[in-house]
């Protein structure tokens, strides 16, 4: 060890430098965005003539952003909850019961990850139009329609994480509970579900994030008065290029970062993902 260190001091240095550069590369966009949000000038100008908080005030005053933020929050929460419940049930079905086509069902549930968001968005849009004709009621542009689409987006995360976690469980633990007098339902609720908790918490977190920041899928499905934050940002960008966007993004980064930190306190994410 000593000898190696003596012979290749530059190797260790290179390794560290590489790691540091990788982190910088990943964090750079975030850092720049946050930095820009404090620039004084309305037109991006480098170096800035001064710093200010006015863009945060402006962003909050902009109704499209404030409403979009609240709307996105609602959609993401609901989509995450529904997606996790459905995803856990699907994962249980796939792992517990040997039925013909179990693996194709698994692949199908994961497929929303494979289809480009814009394509999936248009496909769902066309499906909704057809459904509107048949059912004779509004779906496109409604809150429910958007949530259902986002649930499709969140299910793969839950299925993936919970199936992996289920595979690692010893089936005799649930059997022991049944043997001790617990019915199948009680054994599941009291024993199996708590053992799946880390996977479920992680799944909820990722579902929320995936839904909250989704742009492409939502694009064709939102209606007037129902605009998500990413869409509000995009619409604003069509006509403006001032640091308000940076301020909005900074708030979003802060929020998601906070959620991840809080989650990590309860469940070590690195152990699940």
């Amino acid at each position: 060890m000593l000898r190696r260190r003596a012979r290749f001091p530059w190797a260790r240095f290179l390794h560290r430098a590489f790691v540091a550069l990788m982190y910088l590369f990943m964090l750079c966009p975030l850092i720049v965005v946050v930095w820009l949000s404090f620039f004084k000038d309305a037109i991006l100008y480098f170096p800035p003539s001064g710093y200010t908080l006015q863009w945060y005030v402006k962003a909050w005053a902009n109704e499209a952003f404030a409403n979009g933020f609240v709307f996105s929050l609602q959609v993401a929460l609901l989509a995450a909850v529904c997606g996790v419940v459905l995803g856990v049930m699907a994962a249980l079905g796939i792992t517990r019961y040997r039925f013909a086509g179990a693996s194709s069902v698994n692949t199908m549930l994961l497929s929303p990850l494979l289809v480009p968001g814009i394509v999936a968005g248009i496909a769902i849009y066309l499906f909704y139009l057809r459904a509107e004709n048949t059912l004779d009621r509004d779906i496109v542009g409604t809150y429910g329609g958007l949530v259902i689409a986002h649930v499709c987006l969140t299910i793969p995360w839950t299925v993936r994480l919970v199936t992996a976690s289920m595979a690692g469980l010893d089936p005799s633990i649930e059997e022991a509970a049944r043997n001790l007098g617990a019915s199948g339902r009680v054994a599941f609720m009291r024993i199996t579900l708590p053992m799946l908790r880390p996977a479920i918490v992680a799944a909820a977190l990722f579902s929320f994030i995936v839904s909250f920041e989704n742009l492409e899928l939502s694009l064709s499905l939102v209606g007037p008065g129902h605009t998500t934050l990413p869409i509000a940002i995009m619409q604003y960008l069509e006509f403006n290029l001032d640091p308000t966007i940076a301020a909005v993004s900074s708030v979003q980064i802060l929020l998601l970062g906070l959620i991840m930190l809080v989650t990590d306190r309860f469940v070590k994410l690195s152990q699940v993902v």
């Binding site: 059997e175 022991a176 043997n179 908790r197």
Partner: protein, 358 residues
């Protein structure tokens, strides 16, 4: 506790028969070991008694009551699993409390019962630990306490010692036997380890290919195996193929003549345990087959000597270290007759010969 009755139990998975026509009555307070190689159906039978598997045919009674169609959680069996199967998110005490809660034991009574069973397995001081903080032996003790806390009618053990190391295996084995005797537990103990089964059971059921080969006390099964599978599976056995030549004499296929105590018409094999075969330089006893020492294996407490008989057959002799020393003119450990190439007589009594029809 209660007696357990299996009546013509049968289990089939698709086309393959896992358990065929298994009938057995386990008396109140008796420990029966199911012994056999893997895939013989012993665990399948245990899981049918517990209710995890439904038999394809047959009846299971616990305490005289037909439980064949009763779901797992209403059977009142206490099961111990090979991999402990403790609830990882609960402490030792909570693990034990779970079954009591499920059986609606009043909260006031629970704590006393938890303390009681944990005392029995010497785990009371670790009641607030989590399973991951315990060693394998400690985890299995908790699993035993957890199963016994609900005061089951039957105690079921599925290879409970297989995941423990050799020394611990012995310790927990003795503990299980002592508990079982003290509490008078009707117990089924599944194992693939013959020494374990011999040491712990009142009776053992030897299984092979889904069929019960023999049921009996350990000494009965060992001394009077019902067929060649049992004889070969339990310990070692020298087999000679052939047939009865005349009354009391078995002629082997290669021409050796072995005197036997009990005639069995139509016998096709005769067997003798290696520890019943003595080696001597001069013929003695009921049978003395001449031969030459071929090889010797030193096993510490024993010496295993392989002798090539003049008839061409081979016979194995097991000598306890130090036993056969002076008495037989230097035969034994360090004595010349155990060296390869030495001419010896393999001596054994007609009463030690077992005849097999298969």
């Amino acid at each position: 506790m209660a007696k357990v009755t299996l009546e013509s139990l049968h289990k089939q998975f698709g086309a393959s028969v896992a358990v065929a026509d298994f009938s057995l009555e386990i008396a109140d307070g008796e420990l029966v070991a199911f012994l056999g190689p893997s895939g013989c159906g012993k665990t399948t039978t245990l899981r049918m008694i517990a209710g995890f598997l439904a038999p394809s045919a047959g009846t299971i009674r616990i305490g005289g009551k037909d439980v064949t169609d009763l779901p797992v959680h209403k059977r009142d069996t206490g099961m111990v699993f090979q991999r402990y199967a403790l609830f990882p998110h609960m402490t030792v005490a909570q693990n034990v409390a779970f079954g009591l809660e499920m059986h609606k034991v009043p909260a006031a009574e629970r704590d006393g019962r938890i303390r009681n069973v944990l005392d029995m397995v010497r785990m009371a001081s670790l009641r607030d630990r989590y399973p991951r903080q315990l060693s394998g032996g400690q985890q299995q003790r908790v699993a035993i306490a957890r199963a016994l806390a609900i005061q089951p009618k039957v105690f079921l053990l599925d290879e409970p010692l297989s995941n423990l190391d050799a020394k611990l295996r012995l310790e927990v084995r003795e503990e299980i036997r002592a508990l079982q005797q003290r509490l008078g537990l009707t117990t089924v103990f599944v194992t693939h380890d013959q020494e374990e089964a011999l040491a712990v059971s009142d009776r053992m059921a030897i299984m092979h290919d889904g069929k019960v080969q023999q049921v009996g006390t350990p000494d009965a099964v060992y001394e009077r195996p019902a067929n060649r599978f049992v004889a070969d599976f339990l310990g070692k056995m020298n087999f000679f193929q052939g047939g009865l030549a005349e009354g009391g004499v078995f002629g082997t296929a290669k021409g050796a003549r072995i005197r036997v105590a009990n005639d069995l018409a139509g016998a096709r094999h005769v067997g003798v345990r290696p520890e019943r075969v003595r080696l001597a330089t001069a013929p003695s006893g009921g049978n003395a087959l001449p031969g030459v020492v071929e090889s010797t294996v030193y096993l510490g407490s024993q010496l295993e000597v392989r002798v090539k008989l003049e008839s061409g057959e081979a016979i194995l002799s097991q000598l306890a270290n130090g036993s056969n020393g002076g008495a037989d003119a230097g035969v034994g450990i360090g004595g010349t007759p155990t060296q390869a190439g030495t001419r010896v007589y393999a001596c054994f009594e007609p009463a030690d010969c077992v005849m097999f029809a298969d």
